[in-house]
Amino acid sequence: MAADVRTRQIDAVKHMLNLNSPKSESTWKILVFDEYGRDIIAPLLTVKELRECGVTLNLLIADKRDPIPDVPVVYFVMPTKQNIDLISQDCKNQMYEKFYINFITAVSRQLLEDLAQATIESDSVARVEKIFDQYLSFCMLEQNLFTVSAYDAQSCSYYALNRPDAKDADIEKCINAITDSVFSLFVTLRELPVIRCPKGNAAEIVAERLEKKMRDARRDPKSELFKDQAITSFQRPLLILLDRNMDICSTLHHTWTYQALIHDLFNLYLNRCKVEVDEKVKNYDLGPDDQFWAKNKGKPFPEVADAVHVELEACRAAEQEIKRLKDVMGESGVENANDQIANTVSSLPELMERKKRVDMHINIATALSDCIRARNLDKFFEVEEKIMTKTTLEESVLDTLKNPSVGTAEDKLRLFIIYYLTTSDLPDNELQQYIEALQEAGCDTSCIEYLAKLKSVSSLNVPAQTKLTSSSGSYSSMSNMFKYVKQSSKFMMEGVKSLVVGHRKLPVTRTVDCLSELKQTPETDSFLALDPKIYRKTENLLPALKNTFNDVYVFVVGGGSYVEYQNLMTYSEQHPGKRIVYGSSEMMDSKNFLDQLTKLGSSSS
């Protein structure tokens, strides 16, 4: 059962582009999508692949489109009033030959009636060929990473969920979007998960909605959504819904792995980053088909720099080989030379591609190391790691904050927040000192108020949790956590400490470990367990869970970070047979998150 979500989603999209018929008869057609649809398809298929599916043009629904009267059209849009209006407008103007309408999530009866009314009025009912609900409203960024929707992330951000003046309708909308997305994911997988979530926050609401929705879909005799899953459900997947409030530090932490650094510094969005090279902003695509990227994205930055170097050398060697070929040709026979030339010519495009990739990674890595040097990120990383593992610091946090030559205001604020959240009792006068130091450095300290509130609530709830974390076994290997790599090459890394990331488990990873292995800990015992497969809702499901889970889907309500994603990936590599897919309502970089916290702080005061 190679149930890979990404391939499943690609298959589903291709099926849709094939006009939802299993026959592989190719007709030319036009694809019209809205922003949501674009963001779902963009990481999955390139224009070239779309063309292979028979798509000749892809257009945004809101753009001005010219009529092409003899070609069928495939819509891939969210079921909104606006889109329905646009579609019925197109029908009225007889823009295309036949209309195949696909909605990203289930379309409501009301909207369908609107569409029917509009098409009757404009006399174009016969043009509407097919209407489908696709259940594809999630964005697979990578093999094991998805978000709700990259477009319009504001509406379900951490801020939207936690702000005190939020309207019920807004939160409702946000939670519905998240529920739809996770529901679509499991529809695409054709499996019913066991759901676990902590009590008393947004994650619980999402979990309950999700369970209800799945149960309804299973009961509904008309829908075929979960029908064929009975065969494959020998091993069921586990869905863990978590809330961002559980671990705020991880998103603010200065990171040291390649992908997370790119995300933090260069705004990785839909697998694409913007890097400034020679005063020109360049766009780089970091797709899953880039071998080097796939291998190195989770590694700490110094190692990546070395790997880039090695790759560059390999490319140079290949180039030399080709140059040498010219000399060899004179000596060896014609027969041999012919073959060699043919081989070289066929391998050239591949080599060019590789060279291009290496150039790209060199540019990115150089820009990264410039950034790291300018902002002393290595120092921040080191200090923060030490704070989080509660080792003694060489230099007190206050001194670092007061040091004007180190880092930007944002970096300092992040450092302090981590320090503040991990230290259990900080006296008021000290806190005041810190805040003054921060204000001197030019930080907006309004977010600390919000954090103080959050901290008081969480410390009331779980005093056991902090005790547990401080005595947790995973911290015992602290002493060898920072190994300074001595033989590290000087390539691009001058002035940057070569730190090695320790294999520390983040809170999310620890939770996943406990829940999937069914370990008994005070931390996770309070988690709710829901099973949409059982017809009646039962209070206590825990005894029924006997097997450990191999397929785990983690979803963080309120934004996730690449740090957590990579931490989970490392965990799944260490445990063969375990597959983890990480998802969140949006991938937040720390700047974005900090902004949201500041907004929360200023609106609560």
């Binding site: 010219d66 092409i68 070609v71 009314q117 009757i120 043009r127």
Partner: protein, 302 residues
């Protein structure tokens, strides 16, 4: 399946509404059902697509025949025939596509931009399909040459072996001298005959082999020429594709391009506006100075 069809639901809603309104709409409904006739371009593109599929099938058959490497079952005539057919098909398709391209260029002038984009990408994708098929064909031909070479080698091995063993004298067991002499005297005349016979046999064998080899050589030559032709065709195709300037890009580049263009246009407009307004000021200043001078002139000179 992961999707859910809602067409029926939609149709039932439509029907319910229509019956409610009744009369007026029902009559019109019949008129609506006629879809517009497909244009010339689509028809031609459709035929080309089908032809490409047919050619693909033939090519698969050919590949199957070529991969059959049995020495005894020679089907070269069949293979040659198929090669010829496919070659013709390919050049025909090539011609048709270039015609289609010309057609789309001519007709695209009158209609809007997106129609021409559409037809353009249809042509490009047809071309790339043809290119892949041509590549496959070339590969099949190359493997065919290889297998012919191999067969020839094997045949050489076998035939030289049979000739050496066919020489007389080998088969006689040397039991005793007496018997041998007796036998030799007895078979002397016979031997002569058989020797000649054997020689003749070998000769004819060599001859037939010669003709066979010549035929094979011819085959190889035709295949070489075919490959050459294909190479030329590929060159033309690649040129065409380069002309089309097909760039592999992600979906949203167009959108971002538009945005940057709009922004650039906006900034240009702003610049222009500023330059205009500064010009205006210049004009006012010049006028002011002129008037001052005029006043001075009038007051002091007159």
């Amino acid at each position: 399946m992961t999707c859910r069809e809602r067409t029926l639901e939609y149709r039932s809603i439509v029907q319910a509404r229509q019956s409610r309104i009744a009369g007026a709409y029902v009559k019109q409904n019949h008129a609506v059902a006629v879809p517009p006739t497909r244009s010339q371009f689509n028809k031609v593109a459709g035929t080309i697509g089908r032809n490409i599929a047919n050619t693909c099938e033939k090519l698969e058959k050919l590949a199957l025949l070529v991969s059959n490497k049995s020495l005894f079952e020679d089907r070269s005539s069949e293979i040659n025939q198929l090669t010829e057919i496919i070659n013709e098909d390919l050049s025909g398709l090539d011609r048709m596509i270039s015609e289609l391209q010309a057609f789309s260029k001519n007709s695209a002038v009158q209609v809007n931009l997106q129609v021409s984009q559409h037809s353009n990408s249809v042509v490009v994708s047809l071309q790339s399909q043809l290119a892949t098929i041509t590549m496959d064909f070339k590969e099949v031909l190359v493997s065919r040459t290889e297998s012919i070479k191999e067969q020839k080698q094997r045949r050489d091995q076998f035939s030289s072996g049979t000739i050496s063993s066919a020489y007389p004298g080998d088969g006689f067991p040397e039991s005793s001298l007496l018997l041998q002499s007796e036998r030799s005297s007895a078979t002397d005349t016979l031997l002569d005959f058989s020797d000649m016979d054997q020689n003749q046999q070998a000769l004819s064998l060599v001859e037939s082999q010669d003709s066979y080899l010549q035929e094979r050589e011819r085959n190889i030559k035709t295949i070489y020429s075919k490959i050459e032709e294909l190479g030329q065709m590929m060159g033309r195709l690649s040129q065409m594709i380069a002309n089309q300037g097909e760039t592999i890009s992600l979906l949203d580049t167009n959108v971002t391009d538009i945005q940057t263009n709009v922004e650039a246009a906006h900034s240009e407009l702003l610049k222009y506006f500023q330059s205009i307004s500064s010009n205006r000021w210049l004009m006012f200043k010049v006028f002011g100075i002129l008037i001052v001078f005029f006043v001075i002139f009038v007051v002091f000179m007159a």
